[in-house]
């Protein structure tokens, strides 16, 4: 196996470990967050973002190359896209229903919590459905452009 792949397994494990230590794999903290009764996870997210903001600003100033790629670090954020607001609301509904997000659902499995297995299968189905929808839209656009040209 390539070293890159081993590094990313290790990084995934480190991130999963930190999510667990932060309480993000403990269902009750999600109830605390959404019912505004225990703000453990809000502290985690808030302080993580502040730490990230400071660190990113520092990295933009130092402008180092990435160690593995030897290329300048990317600082461009994700773009606006159609459906961003609707998608984020749907995501949130799922987040509140299942008390997990994509990363934490996977880390929970390692702790022996099996209920998120249903969530993980659901995420795969929802992801697949999005891809299917995109393919269908691409096919119908192609058919339309062929019929106007023909």
């Amino acid at each position: 196996m390539r070293i890159r792949n081993i590094v990313f397994i290790g990084l995934g494990a480190l991130f999963g470990f930190l999510l667990s230590r932060s309480g993000a794999t403990t269902f009750d903290y999600y109830a605390g967050l959404f019912l505004l009764k225990d703000l453990q996870l809000l502290w985690v997210i808030g302080v993580a973002v502040v730490t990230g903001l400071v660190g990113v600003a520092l990295l933009q100033w130092l402008a180092p190359n990435s160690l593995m790629q030897g290329a300048p670090l990317p600082f461009a954020g994700k773009p606006w896209k159609k459906g961003l607001v609707l998608g984020s609301l749907l995501f949130g509904l799922g987040w509140g229903l299942s008390a997990a997000c994509p990363g934490t659902a996977l880390a929970m499995l390692g702790e022996g919590k099996l209920a998120p297995l249903f969530t993980v299968v659901g995420i795969l189905l929802g992801t697949w459905f999005y891809g299917w929808q995109q393919d269908r839209a691409a096919r119908s656009n192609l058919a339309k452009s062929e019929s106007t040209q023909g």
Partner: protein, 169 residues
């Protein structure tokens, strides 16, 4: 409350913030998790969406990151005081455990529906809580701020409805 060791929130926050910087400097990749579910779809798709664009060219780094996450959860449990008590189970804690249906098939339906919303919503929004909220906000990215507000609005709505319906709001 939890069989795993949980740090004070701000310590966890500093650690996760430091993690995203480490990943960025080491690999030149932004933190993000939801796209890796598309890479898993790409393992079985022969053509179409999951074989093109960022999913092109077979197993990406994201797939290995995906595999690492459960290992991290296992490691966290095995380094907690109750390490010897590791056992697979379907319990969901005092609060969600009280409001979600008891029967496993019904629990599976609710969590499966939640998962579908998460998976579809993340692709439509272009990221999840790690990619948009933690990474995107660190980059001072406005679309990520909009997405994060949407995530929280949806979460507040769903959880409050769920607990109100169960008479526990």
């Amino acid at each position: 409350m939890s069989p795993v060791t949980v740090w004070a929130g701000w310590i966890g926050g500093v650690a996760i913030g430091a993690y995203l910087l480490l990943q960025l400097v080491l690999t030149g990749r932004h933190l993000g998790t939801s796209t890796s579910f598309g890479d898993v779809c790409g393992l079985v798709a022969r053509r179409g969406f999951f074989t093109r664009g960022k999913f092109e060219g077979g197993p990406s780094w994201r797939l290995f990151f995906f595999v690492g996450l459960p290992l991290g959860g296992l490691l966290a449990f095995l380094t907690s005081p109750d390490a010897g008590a590791w056992t697979p189970h379907f319990e969901m804690g005092a609060l969600y455990g009280a409001v979600l249906p008891r029967a496993l098939w019904a629990k599976a339906l609710v969590l499966g529906l939640g998962g579908v919303l998460i998976g579809y919503g993340a692709r439509l929004a272009g990221g999840c809580t790690s990619g948009h909220t933690i990474m995107g906000l660190s980059l001072r990215n406005l679309p990520s701020l909009a997405a994060s507000i949407g995530f929280f609005a949806g979460g507040l709505l769903a959880a409050n409805l769920l607990f109100a319906l169960a008479g526990l709001g």
